[in-house]
């Protein structure tokens, strides 16, 4: 059929680029590791501590984060018929931030033994998940009553404002130390996950991806608008619910494990549509997966500042690299297609 053959070439190229970026990402860092060592370590002939316990989980995390955020951005842009939508428009990251702020900053206010017990890594992960889950729940309750998809978008933005306000109030009463810890979480980080954490991350991520794949047909129908989609037999409420849950699972876990990573969710779908000019989600979804993973691996490699001992905040890198790319693409093509 037409659509599978036309896009074969770009998919082969993208897959090769992804593999290359994966090895480059593992190779580059404060200590450069030759490709040969990486390969031997992967098939198990040599043991390399850095690769197995640091670089490899970090590269996998980058792939999950980039592809997951890209796909949830794609889902939101189609659902809200808005090229500016990203995975965080539903207030998911605000919810996560609020959860983390309550744990880190709130511990000072609630004081006592609490403060020392609470601030472990797992408590931050749990707080972030719980925060984004609660905001999602609120959005879902509202969306079951509100018919208009645009209204849900605005409600998500309002949740964002409310949490931002609460976070400011909390920071006003917090110590410098706590503030610093909160800010560091906000920088985002790909390199902090152990294999067992990565496992849990992967399970929830897969669930989100699975629900996205199930939504492909509905997403294509939604390209016509909700009234047309309904006239084509689509169960709008059910599709909308699955799409929102998929996004929350993806964006929620990613924020919980890697912090709020800016920009990727918004930019990747646009970059993908410029590379592969289609609106068909059967093609777009796997393409966004590949390009999201590639871009995140590149961003992470740059953040490591190869051969130096410094690591830049990943959140800054994604914006610094991604924003100019999107501006350049739009200026050149002069059209915001979606």
């Amino acid at each position: 059929m037409q659509d599978t053959n036309t896009y074969k070439a770009p998919f082969i190229v993208l897959t090769l680029v992804l593999i290359l970026c994966f090895f480059a990402n593992i190779s580059l860092g404060s200590v450069s590791i030759p490709f040969k060592t990486i390969f031997e370590s992967l098939i198990g002939t040599t043991d390399n501590y850095i690769i197995q316990n640091y670089r490899l989980p970090k590269a996998f995390t980058a792939i999950l984060v980039g592809s997951g955020l890209g796909i949830s951005g794609l889902l939101m842009q189609t659902l809200f018929r808005n090229p500016l939508a990203g995975p965080f428009v539903l207030g998911i990251s605000s919810g996560a931030s609020l959860g983390v702020a309550l744990v880190i900053l709130g511990s000072g206010i609630f004081g006592g033994i609490f403060s020392t017990l609470l601030i472990s890594k797992w408590s931050i992960v749990i707080a972030a998940s719980l925060g984004s889950f609660l905001v999602l729940l609120a959005v879902l309750i509202v969306s079951s009553r509100v018919r208009d998809t645009m209204a849900i978008l605005i409600i998500g933005l309002m949740f964002g404002s409310i949490t931002a306000a609460i976070v400011s109030v909390l920071s006003y009463f917090s110590s410098a130390e706590q503030l610093q810890q909160y800010i560091f979480w906000g920088f985002g980080s790909l390199g902090n996950l152990s294999w067992s954490e990565l496992g849990i991350f992967f399970i929830i991520y897969s669930l989100g991806i699975l629900m996205s794949i199930v939504s492909i047909k509905g997403l294509n129908t939604l390209l016509l608008g909700e009234n047309y989609a309904k006239s084509l037999g689509l169960n709008i409420k059910q599709s909308r619910l699955i799409i929102i849950i998929a996004t929350s699972l993806l964006a929620g876990t990613i924020t919980a494990f890697a912090g709020p990573i800016a920009f990727i969710g918004l930019a990747i779908p646009h970059i993908t549509r410029q590379v592969i000019n289609t609106s068909n989600h059967k093609i777009l979804l796997p393409a966004v997966f590949l390009i999201g993973a590639i871009v995140m691996l590149i961003c992470d490699s740059i953040a490591q500042l190869p051969t130096s001992d410094y690591t830049l905040p990943i959140n800054a890198i994604t914006s610094l690299i991604g924003a100019p790319i999107v501006i350049w693409l739009l200026v050149r093509k002069r059209k915001m297609i979606f």
């Binding site: 492909i216 047909k217 129908t221 047309y228 037999g233 689509l234 289609t278 979606f338």
Partner: protein, 264 residues
């Protein structure tokens, strides 16, 4: 009458349409009795605000009816589920499609959604139906263009092709000729007439092009404040149905030419 032999696609019995709110029912029109026959082109006309859109929204189940009954292929409309309805009735709406980055082929192919599998793969049959719809609407040369490259007239043809690809007995179009120039208004309505004849589908459209509708439709539905009548254009002219369509201070209907004239 030979009409009685033809199969009835859509039938309304004592239908009342309007809006319900918590406080009260607002009835826009009541006691509507219509029978839309197979293979006919039916034009729905009436002044602005008379309830044409409300009638179409009720027939397409966007909003609930207030009273009476609606039958599609002799089955009550409310017994249809989403998918069944999508296989029996297709729409061309006035609203813009959300993404104009779709190619014409992709857009027409979306008409096959009620028939495709969970991921929307097109079978050989689907593709041949899509290509047939593209040929019937004369848009072969646009097939690989993107929708944002099309003019309003071209886009309207593509939307009609999409409805054809949905392969339903009934196609409903809400003001398909608005925004079009005089030539394309005639072109689109003429195309609808040809399609109704060729495909045997029933095509119902609302329009303000009364002159054109009189010339091209098999049946017309005329909505006025007091009643909703339907008949062939010739009979409607004899009955004087068009005389009360608008307030008579500015324009009058000329029965000889079948068109409206501005009062001198």
């Amino acid at each position: 009458m030979e009409n009685n032999i033809e199969h009835t696609i859509l039938e309304t019995k004592s239908l009342s349409i309007g809006y319900t709110s918590k406080k009260a029912e607002t009835i826009i029109a009541s006691n509507i009795n219509l029978e839309l026959k197979e293979g006919q082109l039916i034009g729905l006309v009436g002044a602005n605000g008379i309830g044409k859109s409300t009638l179409l929204r009720t027939v397409t189940q966007v909003q609930p009816k207030l009273a009476g009954s609606l039958y599609l292929n002799n089955k009550p409309l409310e017994q249809y589920d989403n998918l069944e309805l999508a296989q029996a009735m297709s729409l061309v709406l006035t609203e813009q499609i959300a993404s104009k980055n779709l190619s014409v082929f992709e857009l027409v192919a979306l008409g096959r959604q009620p028939y495709t599998n969970w991921v929307g793969s097109l079978s050989e049959t689907d593709i041949s139906i899509i290509n047939k719809a593209i040929t019937q609407t004369n848009i072969e040369d646009l097939k690989h263009k993107k929708c944002f490259e099309l003019s309003d007239g071209q886009l309207q043809k593509v939307m009609i092709a999409r409805a054809l690809a949905q392969d339903t007995d009934l196609i409903i179009l809400d003001e398909p000729t608005s925004h079009l120039d005089m030539y394309h208004k005639a072109y689109i309505l003429k195309l609808l007439q040809k399609l109704a004849k060729e495909t045997g589908k029933t095509i119902l459209f609302s329009s303000h092009e009364i002159d054109l509708a009189i010339q091209l439709c098999d049946t017309m539905i005329v909505m006025t404040k007091t009643e909703v009548v339907s008949n062939s254009p010739a009979n409607l002219i004899k009955q004087g149905a068009f005389n009360n369509l608008f307030p008579s201070d500015l324009i009058v209907f000329d029965e000889v030419s079948g068109s409206f004239r501005v009062k001198k």
